[in-house]
Each structure stands twice: as structure tokens, then as C-alpha cells.
Amino acid sequence: MTPNLQTRGGNGADSRALPHLLGNEPIIAVRGLEVAYGNRYVLRGVDLDVYPGETMVILGASGSGKSTLLRHIEGLGKPSSGTIMVKGVDICSASRKELKNVRRAMGVSFQSAAMFNSMTVGDNVALPLREHTNLAESTIRLMTKMKLQQVGLSGVEDLYPSQLSGGMRKRASVARALAMDPEILLFDEPSAGLDPIIAAGIDELILHLKKAFKMTIVIVTHEMQSAFLIADRMCMLYQGEILAVGTVDEIRNHRHPHIRRFVDRAANRFDKSDHSYLTGFES
């Protein structure tokens, strides 16, 4: 199967992989993904490829379906139709065991950090190691410390998540996502609710991870500044469809009016039909 990389609805954006990634099989391949709640379509036939080692940023306004797309890549949703192949396994129809293996290769950092409040930060990071490996307790302690140092946190093992600041909690959740040394790292709104300085720190952390571990990283965001900084390639979701996929420069110079508005941070004054698709087919 040759991946269909052409965009839908856009004006012919170049969506090929970066040169050094060409020839690789995509590590994440989304095909014809449709998600509907009742008769309300959130995703309408999304095709997306992410190649090993690249950083893909999924852009989109609130309600464009970008978080839904990420949830489905994480295997947390049930699509109406379409397939999502992660490392060659269709996670929508995978057996429990296959899904378990795929998930071990995936680290997820949630928008709200999603640390377990009843455990210390150290126990949070150590949880996947304790559950999935037979390592000795002293080894797990050491690894926990290392993972926390990698994200720029040290000496917080015995604190509870509620005692950390928002930015620190986010970092700790990245440390937990890194615990099993995943190949793929997924971020939902990494800088949501953080001040610009701390958000920039998170961006730096992502760049560091990209450089140091050559991980495949998928990030959902609406922050253009950080997206341009981090991304190898980006895709723009609009009303449940992918408008364009391309490199940072291609998106920056794209002619589609919606992308222009997004890049130029211009208000959407006249097009009232933007959210009309949410109410169903009639409109």
C-alpha cells in the first residue's frame, strides 16, 4: 500500500516526508479516520503519516478535532471508520496483547499532566517500570531519578503532584512518559495553561528530547510560535479535515485563507460558517 500523502481540501500542499526520512515506512499511519458522536462529525476522513524520528505538529483551532485525533492515535477512542497503524499494528482492532506492546512503545503527556495525585512524583514515574518490568527496587529508584533529571527536575521524588507548580507537573508527566524509553512521544497541548517563560522551557525540553533520543514526537497545539520552533513537519486540521501537511516553511507560506489567518493571528470576522459543521449535515 502506498501511502496517500496528498492533502484533502487544500490547494496542493507538498506533503512528502523530509528528504532524510524518505523511504522509511511511516511509524504512525492514519487512513480515512472518521469519528462521529451521534450525527456530529468531529473527524471527517483524516489521512496522516508520521515517519520515524520526525516531529509532527498537529495544528488547529479549538474544536477542529486535533485532540480527538491524538486520542485516537493513543488508542483511547473508537473511530466510526478508518484505520490507525502504529508500528504496523492497527490499534483499533488490535488484540489486548498487541495493544499492550504498542502502548509500551508510546509515551503520552496529557494536557492536564494527569499525574496520580495519591502517589508521590517518584512513584508516578516509577509506576510503569514497577508494573511492566521485573527490575529491582534500587534500579527503579535510580531510573526514576535519571528520568526526572532528564526533564530538569531533581529532588522532587518524595513530593506529591499537588505540591508542584504547573510547569513542574508537566515536566514530571514527561518524565513518566519517558519511563519506558518509548519510541513515540505524544504531547497534548504541552504549553496549555503555562506562562510564556515556562512554556518556552517546555519547548526547549522537547527539542532536547528530539536531539538526544531521536524519538518520534507528535504534538498537538495551537501555539504557532512554539510549533514553528519544534516541528519538522506540521499539519493543519480544519473542521475535521486535514487542510495541509508540509514542512514548517511550506505551512508558514501557505496561501489557504484559514492557514493565513492562523499564521498571521488574524480574527475570523466574516466567515460565520466555521462551526456550522458541528451541528450536522442539514446546515
Binding site: 486520542r71 493513543e74 488508542g75 483511547l76 495493544l99 499492550k100 502502548r103 509500551r104 508510546m106 503520552v108 496529557f110 494536557q111 492536564s112 494527569a114 499525574m115 496520580f116 495525585n117 509506576l127 510503569p128 514497577r130 508494573e131 511492566h132
Partner: protein, 265 residues
């Protein structure tokens, strides 16, 4: 037409709810089997024991107090009527059997619903809202296995204990009544009670305790897992957990009582 529609919709919703509960129950059983705390990891052992303390030990004073009061009420109400027939001795039968078969398990269940059923659904609901449940799933950890099973095992261990405590304190309170009205010593009273109680009373009591505990944990967890819409949703699901647990517990009580009435005399 809209009336019929609403009946149909609510029927479908109820069937869906019961189906969801049944699936969760089955998955809970399978997971309990797979990771029972005796062979499972240290982590869950600790959680289970902590849950036992929270669900069982901490509820003990309230359960004893409420059941004691209920036993005394039964004795007083029964005594007031039976006095007319000069059959005060029957108070012992009344208190002994009604506490064992019916009121002991029910009072224990009601206290546990109020204390633990609500807190289970609030705790899991908060975890759902803050994406913690999703985080568990992305870490390849089954929320049912990780969150529900320790609570379920703790409940299965503690609910029969609480029921025994409830039954005993109810009967003891009846003894206080007979001590003052019939001049009967406590040891004679307890001996009489022991003669009256039959194996079926004890079995039905314990069966009810296990069934009620199962209902409380599963309804609480199910409400928690299915929370939608932020903190407001957590509040709503907590209310639902309490109301639905009480309803289902009383329903199960009726079924058990009917079963023992017709099939084990």
C-alpha cells in the same frame, strides 16, 4: 409519539447501564483472578490493605452504633405490641431473626454506601476528569485491574465482617431491652438467640453481605468511570452512585429474601 419515544429511550439507557455494569463485573472477576493480592505485586497489596482500613475498619463504629439503635428500636416496637398478648419472650425471636436476616446486612450496606460508595465514585470520577484513567490506559494498565480490583477485594473481605458486627450489635442492643423488661441475663438471652437462629439465617446474611458489597463497588466505580463534563459531572455521578446503589441493594435484598423464603425453609 414523543411519550413513547421517551419510554423507549429510557429503556434503552437502563438496559445499556445494566449491560455496562455486567461487563465491568465480568472484567473485574477476570482481573481479580489474574492479579489477586496474594500473588500480585506489592503495590496493590498495599492499596488493598489500605482500602480495607478505609472501607471496613473506619466504618465499624458507625455500623455498630446504627445497628445497635436499630436493634433497640425493633425490640421496643415489638415489645410494645407483644406486651398486649403477654408474649414478651417473642421479642428475642423478633430481634434475632430480623437483625440476622435483614437489618444487619442492610444497615451495614447503607453505611458503606454513604461512606465508601460515594467516595469511590468521587475518587474515580475525579481521576476520569483529570485524564488519570486515560493515562493508566496509555501506560498499558487496565483501570479495572488497577483501580477497581483492590477496592473490590477489600470490600469482599470487609462487608461480611461489618455485617457480622452489625448483626451482633443489634442483637446485643435487644439484650439490653430484655435485661430491663424481662429480667433476663445477657448470657441466657444470647443462648436463646443462638437456639433460634438457623443455618439458613446465617447463610442468607452472608450471601446478602457479599451481594451488597459487589453492588456498591461496581456501581460506584461504573459511575466514576463514566463521568462526563468536569467537576459538575463528578458531583452528579456521586449522587447517582448513592441513589442507584441504595435502589439496587434493596432490590437485591428483596430477591434474596424471596429466594430464601421459597427455596430454603
Amino acid at each position: 409519539m414523543t411519550f413513547l419515544e421517551s419510554i423507549g429511550r429510557s429503556t434503552v439507557e437502563k438496559v445499556e447501564y445494566i449491560g455496562g455494569l455486567a461487563i465491568q463485573f465480568w472484567r473485574g472477576l477476570v482481573s481479580s483472578w489474574r492479579i489477586n493480592p496474594f500473588t500480585g505485586s506489592r503495590l496493590r497489596w498495599k492499596t488493598t490493605v489500605r482500602q480495607m482500613a478505609v472501607i471496613g475498619v473506619q466504618a465499624l463504629p458507625v455500623v455498630c452504633l446504627i445497628s445497635g439503635a436499630t436493634g433497640l428500636i425493633m425490640a421496643l416496637q415489638g415489645g410494645a405490641e407483644l406486651r398486649k398478648f403477654g408474649a414478651m419472650g417473642v421479642v428475642i425471636n423478633l430481634v434475632g431473626t430480623s437483625m440476622t436476616r435483614e437489618l444487619g446486612p442492610l444497615m451495614a450496606a447503607i453505611v458503606v454506601i454513604g461512606r465508601s460508595g460515594s467516595s469511590i465514585s468521587a475518587e474515580i470520577g475525579a481521576m476520569t476528569v483529570t485524564e488519570e484513567i486515560d493515562a493508566l490506559r496509555t501506560m498499558a494498565l487496565d483501570p479495572v485491574e488497577f483501580v477497581l480490583v483492590p477496592k473490590y477485594i477489600a470490600m469482599m473481605a470487609m462487608m461480611p465482617c461489618l455485617t457480622v458486627a452489625a448483626v451482633f450489635s443489634g442483637i446485643l442492643a435487644g439484650g439490653i431491652f430484655t435485661y430491663y423488661t424481662l429480667d433476663m441475663t445477657l448470657s441466657v438471652y444470647l443462648q436463646r438467640t443462638a437456639e433460634i437462629l438457623m443455618m439458613r439465617d446465617i447463610v442468607s446474611s452472608m450471601a446478602k453481605a457479599v451481594a451488597f458489597g459487589t453492588i456498591i463497588v461496581h456501581v460506584g466505580c461504573f459511575e466514576g468511570f463514566t463521568v462526563t463534563g468536569g467537576p459538575e459531572g463528578v458531583g452528579r455521578s456521586t449522587t447517582n452512585a448513592v441513589v442507584k446503589s441504595i435502589f439496587l441493594v434493596v432490590l437485591a435484598d428483596l430477591l434474596f429474601t424471596a429466594f430464601f423464603y421459597f427455596f430454603w425453609r
